[in-house]
């Protein structure tokens, strides 16, 4: 690792290497190294997180960088069982950027904040000379109040099953299609959405969540691999149970991707006790956004720290952590 390459930002193996060898090395502490979506602080009462958004194109089917910047941070809080409350918003804008587009972006942020019942309480703007950034980059940081304690990707056991909240890969596939200028007659759009409302419903239904994570960069594949690794278990996925739309499958066929590795921005993966799984599915199916929720995997000890994909015809293979350069700047 001599220079930073785009592969270091892929949410997969190289990304983890960069984080552990440079950032963890310098900043290491007990909270940080838990490596959760959001840090849990103040005796487990608050969740705290930050995220930067650099997506290109800025506007895409289903959302834009503004909506994404609120969903991303609020979802990281929600994934720790926290109600998003206070956000900061920092923007770096390239000289010459169109004010109309900026207003459109900020209005999308406002709308998404309302959905989360959260507010922006502090902010910063910087304008830089042309060429110093590509149009606009946004950072948001958020604090949330934890509603259910103990959600952690380090505590998954064989008593759990794994659920995904909806059909996967829509965001990644949408951005790919937009970047490649693929003009297809399709309903494909990003899944970008705020997830706290579903998490809240699960908690209110009395469901005890073991682990929860939104499957952003690196997709469901990265989440499952991190979980298998952090909880020292084997996650055995039933391939035919994974919900994937025809449109996403089509893009994967054309460009040679796996839906499991494509990014999502409004899809979560949940580990939950077997006995509560059908109740959780019932709760999730009430929402349009998670009507395709499905139990996709069991937890075993067959191959330690590995994710195994079982096919319909009785073969198995390891699902690897995505490596190399996925499409950069998807979020």
């Amino acid at each position: 690792m001599k220079t930073v390459t785009l592969a270091h930002g892929n949410g997969g193996a190289e990304n983890q290497e960069l984080i552990s060898k440079v950032f963890y090395k310098a900043f290491k502490n007990d909270i940080l190294t838990k490596s959760e979506d959001a840090a849990v602080i103040e005796d487990g009462n608050l969740a705290f997180t930050t995220d930067s958004f650099t997506v290109s194109p800025l506007f895409f089917s289903g959302a834009n960088i503004g909506k994404l910047s609120i969903c991303g941070t609020c979802n990281d809080l929600a994934m720790m069982g926290a109600k998003p409350k206070y956000l900061t918003c920092s923007v770096i804008i390239e000289e010459g950027f169109d004010i109309k587009s900026l207003e459109k972006i900020v209005n999308s942020m406002k709308k998404e904040l309302e959905i989360n019942e959260a507010i922006v309480v502090s902010g910063d703007t910087k304008v830089v000379p042309k060429g110093s950034v590509d149009k606009i980059f946004i950072n948001t940081t958020g604090i949330g109040q934890i509603q259910q304690k103990g959600i952690s990707s380090n505590s998954i056991t064989q008593d759990d099953v794994i659920i995904v909240s909806r059909d996967i890969g829509c965001h990644g596939a949408t951005i790919f299609a937009a970047r490649e200028g693929m003009d297809m007659s399709s309903d494909l759009k990003s899944d970008c959405a705020s997830l706290f409302i579903q998490v809240k419903a699960l908690i209110e239904a009395g469901i005890k969540i073991t682990a929860l994570r939104d499957a952003t960069r690196g997709g469901v594949s990265a989440v499952l691999n991190e979980w298998a690794n952090q909880s020292d278990v084997c996650i055995e996925v039933d391939e035919q149970k994974i919900p994937v739309s025809n449109e996403v499958n089509g893009i994967c066929e054309l460009l040679g991707f796996e839906a499991m590795s494509l990014a999502n921005e409004g899809t979560f993966v949940m580990a939950i006790n077997k006995d509560e799984a059908s109740k959780a599915i019932e709760v999730l199916k009430q929402f349009e956004n998670s009507k395709n929720a499905s139990i996709i995997a069991n937890v075993t000890q067959q191959y330690s720290k590995k994710v195994v994909l079982n096919s319909e015809w009785g073969t198995k293979r390891f699902l690897e952590l995505p490596t190399g350069e996925l499409l950069p700047r998807i979020c």
């Binding site: 220079t3 025809n246 089509g250 015809w313």
Partner: protein, 381 residues
Amino acid sequence: MQEIQLKDLYDGFRDAKTIKAYKKIIDEDAKKLDRTINIMEVCGGHTHTIMKYGIPQLLPSNIKFIHGPGCPVCIMPKERIDHAYILSMQKDVILVTLGDMIKVPGSKGSLQEARSKGADVRFVYSPMDCIKIADENPNKKIIFFAIGFETTTPMTAALLNTVIKQNIKNILFHINHVTVPEVMSELIDSRDEHVDSYNHNIDAFLGPSHVSVISGSKIYEKFPKEYNTPVVVAGFEPVDVMQSISMIVKQFIENRCELEIEYKRLVSYDGNIKAQELINNYFEKVSLFKWRGLGNIKDSGLKLKKDYEDYDAEVIYKDILPIEEIEDHKLCICSDILRGMASPTDCTIFGTACKPNKPVGSCMVSSEGACAAYYKYGNLL
């Protein structure tokens, strides 16, 4: 009119019932074999299918795969990658190539690393995208680093055809196209230095079929005839591969040795004549092309004809492109592995000097190569 969906292209070819039915047929037929047969899938696309769908787990123990050298990225030698690296570092050059090529290291580093040092390196899905890049960057030279087997050569030829017809002045080509039959012959014919023998363990070939969509199945005719090795030209879905294996097994139990086509929905004996003409218009054979891990193979590469050397980056930039050969690691046994004579774990540099992020031989470059697969999975699955 009914809309055609992408899934119509593979529906049925991934059907679990059909796959299981073929498994049953192969299991029964394989009992009649008097020995183990080793089938080489030449093409990286087939290796991908075999790994992704877990085909080896469906086969009886007397049918084995040897993963072949058919990944154009994996076989690219350091010398050629160095050319790409050097070209990408030139002022006002945009180097364009296909997909995974940017990951593979040459002696100076990978194109990905060149880009992190400021080079403008882009990857495209279609070579024709170069036209748009050239149009948007009139003051830059676009160099298309062309890779691939017979399948992608016509696309490069079509790009050159358009460049000439539209009189586009800022697109050049660095040609690294290679051909399949020559490397197949090489694996069977040549003497292996490490084991000092002409032996190989390849009993049959799964023939690359997208190559044959262009070149026809005729290019494999000599293998059953002259080498007594059956070839079945196979499609890329799991049902295609299972059916093709079944066809090969049947040839053995019926004592036949033939060229057969399983992928009949796209492959004909003669192939795509128009694409072949386009290739022949612009390209000619180079006498030797070096393959990573296999060394120089006669007549296995293409270059632009002399008439088109104004478009040839190798000619135009010849003063800065080194021609010295970089010696392959002496201990790399890729060629033995590809002949089915050795296993990755027999190699002394496996997992030490040669790893997926620092590959020596072609078998370690792509995740589908035999060595990379062993490195990742061991013999676990």
